[in-house]
């Protein structure tokens, strides 16, 4: 079946680029966007296999994104990458089965997580 597709949504473009580059090296097909709107536009036509998303985007919060993605693309594996540390918030997402990756991120950890979720 070809490469797994990853969509990174983070308003820190430099970071999104670098992570994207690494994930491509490792073998994923990567797209990176900086806002929720752009993400949904993309997802209309191409449902990604994996979504890596920040909680605090410039135009919307992570909760909204998660809800929308679940509706629009229920098969996509969801991961949160965020600087936000609130144990309650973390628990909330974990309860939904959404792993929470804390910034600053180590690329190898991300890759391991992705492999585990989607071997």
């Amino acid at each position: 079946m070809g490469k797994k597709t990853v969509l990174i949504v983070d308003d820190d473009m430099k970071f999104a680029e670098n992570l994207g580059k690494y994930l491509s090296i490792v073998g994923y097909e990567v797209n990176a966007v900086g806002s929720g709107e752009s993400a949904f536009k993309l997802m209309k036509n191409n449902k990604p296999d994996i979504l890596l998303c920040d909680l605090k985007l410039s135009d919307m919060d992570g909760d909204k994104i998660i809800k929308e993605v679940k509706e629009v693309s229920p098969d996509t594996a969801l991961f949160i990458i965020s600087a936000y540390i609130d144990p309650y918030v973390e628990k909330r997402f974990l309860k939904q089965g959404i792993p929470f990756i804390k910034k600053p991120v180590l690329f190898d950890d991300v890759v391991e997580l992705l492999k585990k979720a989607m071997p």
């Binding site: 820190d12 670098n18 992570l19 690494y22 600087a83 936000y84 910034k103 991120v105």
Partner: protein
């Protein structure tokens, strides 16, 4: 004036004053036994004096003899009434029998007046200057009875005076000494019976009795001897007013009739009209004048209880700030009740002590605290009642109260727990706390307890708000620090991993060097960002130093600010309009005001496009200076305008602003006792309005 005349004058003076005193006292309260006893005592002295005038004057020996016997009806009752008065005044117990016996003796003796037992005749005495009764058979007995009872009563009063405190002590002191002097002076009258005249005590000694009357009046008014709430104010005022009315009438009559009437003939009716007009016009002012005079000179300066309650509820109880609440409490109580000292102690649960929180007029402030285990604290906690320090209080309680300088202790009870105590020192007038005082203070302590509880809750609420703000801050910090770190790490990771995976095999050394330089440069920028944010945050979280207020001219402050920003303004070709009349003074911190102006104007510069306008106007308005800083920039939408002061709220691109500027500005404005507000319209622009109190 001869001996006889002096004597009669002294007797008359005494007779009248004791009569007035006796009537006055009984009129205050007919049902009061103490008043009645004193009144009868006074009236019996009056009886004695009046009768003795007859005795001395005669005019015949026959008449003198009658008066001599009549006189002694009063005389034998004087000691008995004095005894009764003393028993009631001092609260002596088990004297019922003694009193009955004395009354019996007095009555029996008095009943012999028609006979010659008291006095068989009257003779000329003192070298014929006066008439006087001769001593009868039972006369020496009367003397002994009089002397014994009098001495007994005086001893009792003296002892009580020694043991008493405060105003009671003074009352009894006055009573004792004036009685002694009165008795000494008056007793020389008895010696006349034996034709013993000791000059000058005869005849002037009788004046001492009158003196005693005046002293008693003084004790009544000033030291509340019989607890009389004096209705005399009204009597005196009424008397004064009557005198005024009569005076006006007389004067008007005199002027119109005698003076003018001799020049022009004026019908009598005009006198009446003029008098009536004058009286009507002046009666109220005169009444107020009299009331004030009597209040000022005759009466214990009593505080107005309604005033105390009003002041307390208006000024004290509504305070939410704990420090101000305790401060105002102690000063209001001390001022209104005219106390030497007052203090408030609050429970420190950790140390199990009530610790001094604020005080007025108290020395050795550090020594003052009250252990929860002390007798006083236990008593107050158990009863929940106000405690007055009395001579017969238990010793430990007295000691505890002395340690905190307390004449009165008011426990503060909340939900059945004692959260503190208010201690009041002595009144400056040395008077005691009355029942009324205690009732009012009891009510006020209940209100105070609620106020304290509110202030505590308010402080906690503020803490919680602060904690919530800190929570928000912490989240913000994390974001502002983590993202740059993340960025750096991602750049480094991708570089090294690419190198390790051999992706840069074909790059030259120079190219690799340049790439690593880029990574490091980016990293350094990020590190600078983090350093700046942590600095700004420590500025914000541990906010700016306290404002050092001085009189500054805000027009000058604006100039300084423009000195820094002027270049940018020119660069963007922004029109800067200044509308402020130099000078405009406020009391504020110079640096902080500049920082405020700097932040707002810089925001304006960044909001405005090229060729836009920024205006700064400052006006005096009543006791404030109003400053408006307006820009013709993009404006802020209604839903965002609430957030502009939130820390980290910023619409600027990440590298351009931290979002702390306005949050800090608001803090600084508040520190300098000012206010900040904002109006904005999308597309039109924004105006920040600052208000500061004037200083000129």
């Amino acid at each position: 004036m001869g001996y006889k005349e002096h004597f009669i004058l002294a007797l008359a003076a005494t007779a009248i004053t004791t009569l007035i005193l006796g009537i006055f006292v009984i009129f205050q309260d007919r049902k009061n036994k103490l008043f009645l006893a004193f009144s009868l005592y006074s009236l019996s002295i009056s009886w004695w004096c009046f009768s003795q005038i007859g005795n001395v004057y005669g005019p015949s020996l026959e008449a003198s003899w009658f008066w001599a016997r009549f006189e002694h009806i009063g005389v034998v009752f004087i000691p008995t009434f004095f005894l009764h008065f003393t028993v009631l005044l001092l609260g002596l117990k088990n004297k019922g029998m003694l009193l009955k016996v004395c009354y019996l003796i007095s009555a029996v003796t008095a009943s012999t007046f028609p006979t010659s037992l008291i006095s068989p005749s009257a003779e000329k005495k003192v070298n014929g200057l006066i008439n006087f009764g001769e001593p009868g058979i039972i006369y020496p007995f009367i003397l002994i009875f009089f002397a014994l009872l009098t001495v007994y009563c005086l001893i009792k009063i003296f002892t009580a005076q020694r043991q008493a405190t405060g105003s009671r002590k003074t009352q009894l002191g006055i009573l004792f000494w004036s009685s002694v002097i009165g008795y000494i002076g008056g007793s020389f009258n008895f010696f006349l019976v034996y034709d013993i005249s000791v000059y000058p005590l005869n005849p002037f000694g009788t004046y001492f009795v009158a003196l005693y009357v005046l002293a008693t009046f003084y004790a009544i008014f000033k030291y509340n001897l019989l607890g009389i709430e004096v209705i005399i104010k009204k009597t005196l005022v009424f008397a004064g007013l009557s005198a005024f009315v009569v005076g006006v009438f007389v004067a008007a009559t005199f002027i119109t009739q005698e003076l003018l009437g001799s020049i022009i003939g004026i019908p009598k009716v005009w006198t009446y009209v003029v008098s009536a007009l004058l009286i009507a016009a002046l009666i109220d002012p005169i009444k107020n004048f009299l009331v004030n005079i009597t209040n000022k000179y005759l009466f214990q300066k009593k505080y107005n209880p309604t005033q105390l309650i009003k002041t307390f509820t208006d000024d004290v109880i509504s305070l939410m700030d704990l420090d101000r609440l305790v401060r105002t409490t102690v000063t209001t109580l001390a001022d209104t009740l005219k106390l030497e000292s007052s203090a408030i102690l609050l429970l420190n649960k950790d140390e199990d002590k009530h610790v001094l929180r604020d005080s007025y007029g108290v020395k050795d402030v550090d020594e003052i605290n009250l252990s929860v285990d002390s007798s006083l604290a236990k008593y107050l906690s158990r009863t929940g009642e106000v405690l007055l320090r009395k001579e017969d209080s238990p010793n430990e309680i007295k000691e505890d109260m002395d340690k905190v300088n307390a004449a009165l202790a008011l426990p503060l009870i909340l939900h059945k727990q004692m959260i503190g105590v208010i201690t009041l020192g002595k009144k400056r007038s040395d008077q005691d706390y009355t029942e009324e005082d205690i009732d009012i203070l009891t009510a006020l302590t209940k209100a105070e307890t609620i106020a304290l509880s509110n202030a505590r809750l308010f402080t906690e609420a503020k803490q919680n708000v602060k904690l919530a703000a800190i929570g928000a801050l912490a989240a913000g910090i994390n974001h502002e620090v983590c993202n740059p770190l993340n960025r750096m790490m991602s750049a480094m990771q991708i570089f090294w991993k690419s190198v390790d995976l051999g992706l840069y095999k074909d790059k030259s050394e120079e190219e690799l060097l340049q790439m690593s330089r880029d990574v490091m440069n980016d990293a350094m920028n990020d590190i600078r960002k983090i350093a700046s944010i942590t600095r700004k945050l420590s500025d914000f979280a541990k906010p700016s130093r306290d404002a050092i207020a001085e009189k500054i001219n805000i027009v000058e402050s604006l100039q300084e600010t423009l000195g820094v920003l002027g270049h940018e303004i020119k660069l963007k070709r922004i029109e800067f309009i200044k509308d402020a009349k130099d000078p405009l003074f406020i009391m504020a911190d110079r640096d902080q005001i500049q920082e405020i102006f700097f932040n707002i104007i810089r925001n304006a510069i960044q909001a405005v496009k090229e060729n836009g306008k920024i205006s700064f106007s400052a006006q005096k308005k009543e006791n404030k200076i109003i400053i408006d800083i307006t820009d013709t920039g993009l404006g802020i939408s209604k839903d965002k305008i609430q957030k502009i002061y939130d820390p980290f709220y910023t619409t600027k691109a990440e590298t351009k602003g931290t979002g702390l500027g306005l949050a800090i500005v608001r803090q600084l404005v508040n520190k300098n006792r000012g206010d900040i507000s904002v109006r904005s319209q999308i597309g039109r622009g924004t105006t920040f309005t600052l208000e500061f109190p004037r200083s000129d």
